[in-house]
Amino acid sequence: MFTRCAILAAGLASVAPLGFGAAEPLSKAQIQSVVRIEALTIPTPGEFFAAIDKQGQPNWTQLFQPKSAGVTSSRAQMALMLGVLVADGYIAVEAQDGQGVKNTGKDIINLGTKLNVSKTILGRGNSINDFAENNDWSALREELEATQNEVKLAMAEQKDQNLVILVTVGAWVRGTDVAALYISKNYTPGLASLLRQPAIIEYLLSQLGLLPGSLRLDPLVQKLEQDLASALKLVDTDPDKPFPAESVKALSETMSGLVNAIAEGAKNP
């Protein structure tokens, strides 16, 4: 548990820990001024899985069913798939599957090559291999996030800014897909409450809404917007009431359908 000992043990004994919580509540105007930064506002799949590990005992080896990208020339689909692969990397880390992490890292580099960002992340690929070789799971979690952030930075540098949000969406969708699948089969109200993250979906939808018209006409992006809106309706409920098992199942089906669409490509209606 979280205790004051954590601070002292962390070597910060020179300043005593202080309880806090006496601050005045925020006003609505203050809340409206809030900054959202993708790199912090959106949690990593690793945080999601850490919370699941506290309440359940998932068999991550069983849950690690990596997706592979179908043949596509769509950069939007590739960017989404890159996000999916990053989330798969986190699942492989949870499963402590070194070879799985290496394979996923290789897939990320291959996809990065198609998106012209491989130069930036080749070094990261080597690090992923080294950490996987040494079973350094904690370092791997950080390396996966750093790889994702470097891919996004490289995309921004080569004026592919619009693809950045798609990487984030891909990772979030895949993480939620696996979490919802596990929770739907091992339902408890506590586990289910982890899925209630309406603000994240609202943010992702708002960013998808800013994409240029050509990208928003992409059938896959259209499906994303549609299905994320459905997912938002499922999770945007009273946080003081349990998140029902039926909603978990529905969310699992929605996310699973989206991950398959990202891997295979959405068809024109």
């Binding site: 548990m1 979280f2 954590a6 601070i7 043990a9 962390a10 070597g11 910060l12 020179s14 300043v15 820990p17 202080l18 309880g19 806090f20 919580g21 601050a23 005045e24 509540p25 925020l26 006003s27 609505k28 203050q30 809340i31 001024s33 809030v34 900054v35 959202r36 930064i37 993708e38 790199a39 912090l40 506002t41 959106i42 949690p43 990593t44 945080e47 999601f48 850490a50 919370a51 506290k54 309440q55 904690s138 979690r141 950080e142 996030e145 996004k152 930075l153 921004a156 540098e157 800014q161 950045v164 506590g190 409450s193 982890l194 899925l195 209630r196 993250q197 603000a199 994240i200 946080p239």
Partner: protein
Amino acid sequence: MKASLLAVLLGMTPLMAEQNPAPAAEPATLATPRSRALELAGAFANEGYKIRDGFWAGSIEPAKPLLIEVNLFEGNEYWFSAAALSPARKISVDVFDQKGRPVPGERYQEGPSSAAGIVAQKSGRYFIRLSLAEGEKADFCLVYSYK
């Protein structure tokens, strides 16, 4: 160059993302807001906290606290660590729930470095407030870690 691109990537306004050269008293090679924030977060890493690669950086002014939204998971433990450079003398970090109510927890405070630690009681949206309590406008950086 990278800093400005990163600012765009992170969705910050140019003003917020402005990175002034470190003052003479703060050797740039040794101290940046990010290096100091990471140094603080690193202490918690010894306790099993994983540091997020992402960070929030910019400038903070007296009487103009800044808020960032994060989305946390019930049961996870978090530390939000921030640091600023001179002429900032004291900064503070506070955590609020989605209704804007202060969240009780722990705080580490030492001049222009500060951290707030909480256990998320519910999954969802939280707000992290960074305030410059003493000193003048300065560059800052905030990182977070979890376990």
